[in-house]
């Protein structure tokens, strides 16, 4: 029952503003290719309450971020969720990324991921479905800095993939 309520709430409240609550649904994923390290560095920022709701809906009701109350092995769930929702293809091949860890403050969780051993990037495809399973209006902003090109795209449930070409 709780889940359903949360979902309903998220859907119905989105239009109304509250004087102190965040009432927009956005995540920011920054992707940078550091050529001299052959590394693609990824930082995803998600609102902690939305992210927590998504993890609770999927895995465990009691998952909590932040401070002393943080669930001990929450990283396992974060990794599982992100690997499920974020897909990256480099030069047409699906890339495996390493989950480095996460930091959380009052509002936001930052997740750090890395793809190593990337010799060059001719094309880069990113599919970002983070929180789309929970929030209809979720928009995932992806900012890339690859081969000294900076780009920014917004992914929505209806269009969750962006392809960048560098040739």
């Amino acid at each position: 029952m709780k889940l359903v309520k949360i979902l309903l709430l998220v859907c119905t409240l989105s239009f109304f503003s509250f004087s102190a609550v965040h009432e927009y649904y956005i995540s920011l994923t920054q992707i940078e290719y550091v050529a001299n390290k052959k590394s693609v560095q990824i930082i995803s920022r998600l609102f902690v309450d939305d992210f927590e709701n998504a993890l609770r809906a999927r895995y465990r009701e009691d998952l909590t971020f932040g401070g002393q109350e943080e669930t001990e092995n929450i990283d396992e769930y974060v990794e599982r969720y992100i690997k499920d929702k974020l897909t990256i293809k480099i030069n047409g091949t699906k890339a495996n990324f390493t989950y480095i860890g996460k930091e959380s403050d009052i509002d936001i969780v930052k997740c750090y991921l890395e793809i190593e051993g990337v010799e060059r990037i001719d094309s880069f495809e990113v599919t970002n479905k983070l929180l789309f399973d929970l929030i209809e209006e979720q928009q995932n902003i992806v900012k890339t800095k690859i081969n000294s090109n900076q780009k920014s795209v917004i992914l929505i449930p209806q269009k969750d993939t962006a392809v960048l070409k560098f040739n």
Partner: protein, 766 residues
Amino acid sequence: MNKFSYFCLSFLLMSFAIHAQEQSAAKKGHTNTNKFKQLYDEFSTPNMFRSASGAPGPAYYQQQADYEMDIVLDDKNAKISGFETITYTNNSPDELKYLWVQLDQNQRAKDSKSPLIETSGVAPVMFPNAFTKEYMQEPLERGFNILEVKDESGNPLQHMINRTMMRVELPKPMKTGDKFTFSIKWWYNINDHVMEGGRSGYEYFPKDGNRAYVIAQFFPRMAVYSDVEGWQNSQFWGRDEFALPFGDYEVNITVPADHILDGTGELTNRKEVYTKTMMERYEAAKKSFDKPVLIVTQDEAEAAEKGFSEATKTWKLKAENVRDFGFATSRKFILDMMAVKIGDKDVMAVSMYPKEGNPLWEEWSTRAVASTLESYSRMTFDYPYHKAISVHAKQQGMEYPMICWNYGRPNEDGTYSDRVKYGMMGVIIHEVGHNFFPMIVNSDERQWTWMDEGLNTFVQYVAEQDFGEKYPAALSPEDKHFPSDRGPAKMIVPYMGGDQDFIAPIMTKGLNTYQFGNNAYGKPATALNILRETVMGRELFDYAFKEYANRWKFKHPTPEDFFRTMEDASAFDLDWYWRGWFYTTDWVDIGVKDVKKYYVSDEPNAYMKKIMEERGIKKKQLKPLVYLVEEGSEDFKASMKKKSLLENSKPLQDYIMDNFSPEERKSIKEPKYFYNVTFEKPGGLVMPIIVKYNYTDGTSKEVTYPAQIWRLNDNEVSKAIASDKEIASIEIDPNEETADIDTSNNSWPRKTEQNDFDQFKEKIQG
């Protein structure tokens, strides 16, 4: 005029000529695009209503709307009905043919257009109940039922409802000074604010079958008529909040007899509605300045929630000079109070919460209310009302005069996370703070969300820091300060450095902004914090901010009144700041581009040699001059580094010996190192350049070049620095106080800066 001085003069002029030639290559004219241009085009011309100083003008007026209301809550059916009599006073110089009344509840009506302006798409996966609601269910019966609109004698008044606005025709036009009294009878079904959303409504508690009501924008309310907007009758779409005139209220609210109620205004029949025990505790609370006193305990509230009384009680509230009215009522409410001294007056800090809010609420709500009133009073004016109430309501954060609803609910076992705790304290400070902006300094929220949210979020930051200092026990062990998430400069960096397609200037109507929270709360609050801490300094800023609050308390200010007052009271030209931060989406990015080091020499350097060759000037024709030689250039000799300034330049030595007395020579500075420092500004915002010069002897010096340094070149400026110490490194904005979005150019020599990612990785993996 001898030949040489002529040469010198022409030489000076020449360099200007070259500069001018480069400029004319573009061959294109332009209007005044200087970032320091005054805001004459953006601002309206000052007039008798609003002065150029930013104060209300000699002809300033505002309308008055007084209300007498009888309200009945039907708890069983979650319905509310009312009969209200409005006395409207026309203080404007204009004749009014009709009045506009706001019907905010119609935003929730079946035929509301609010859902229609939201774009949507088919979600690939949905929960069954969300699907049902979206595609299968009829919308709920919501919105006002207006039963009658009558004049004082009981004759029906012609009226027309356009969605959330009702036009009431006047029998005869109102002239200046006229009063008109009319009445409206209405009812509506109250929404479940947890399930349906909304700033007011009820929360249903299935375990005990009770509701807790937080009721606001619940009665037809007069719109504002003013010199800037005429009638402010812009529709209520659900986001942009309210514009309301001041007035006096007498409100009788009838609720089940076992309810505990409080709202805007003085409770005039306290003895009728309080038990004897409650009265005694209330008297004790009046004298308790350090600890809240429970007026209704948790045990009593828990007993009451089983009752469901059929009898009723009428609570009578009277408020003077308020812009709105709200109340909260439930049999679930615990009630506590504590007095707080504001100026020479005692104000009551009040909290109402169901047991679900405990233990967090009994501990911190009332203390947060009191501390907020103290901080805001210091920054503005003494809180003029007699009480301020914080009501616990799930997922709410909303403000009304003297009363507000706030979120922050512990888990069922009474535990809570830091996030819930700080969220609750932050929202209480924010919403209680709204008493000042916009309840008293009554800006037009429908038009300018940032004017109340931005100013309020700025003072909230100050008040949160105060609260953390006053109550260290409120902080978690690892926090030294209250962890405010809005205010400090660096927290706005991700927003201001973000995608320009999704950023609007602050001077945008709230409904049309992309990132409402950052746009209307975060950025203006940060802009004011930077103005206070970095640009103006606390003394100048605080005086001017206080002046603005005092000039416009119980009045209707516009953004210009704020902008003008801040300058008027400080002698600080801020047009450039308002223009950049409030009228554009530009960002701060200032860096150090290049540093060159020089020594003095008495031998002509390459620069002079070239001129000599071109002009056929011989060395002996030159008068003694001081030459600056860049370290590492062909003119540079390693020996220069070892010698003092005067040893390096005989002409300088001679000049000093000839022109200064031995006494004067003692106090003369003798810098040894000369630098040409070039600063660059990739960002569009002009800001002061805050520079920290670190010397090789381990000392350092901080210098701030005012923003006006950019007035003639918006991209790059340089400074000649003479120093008796050698500079080891230079840092721009060393304390991260300007919201510089790219710090990779902030240091010389360039730090091979680890990015966030590498820093984190190193921290995790060692």
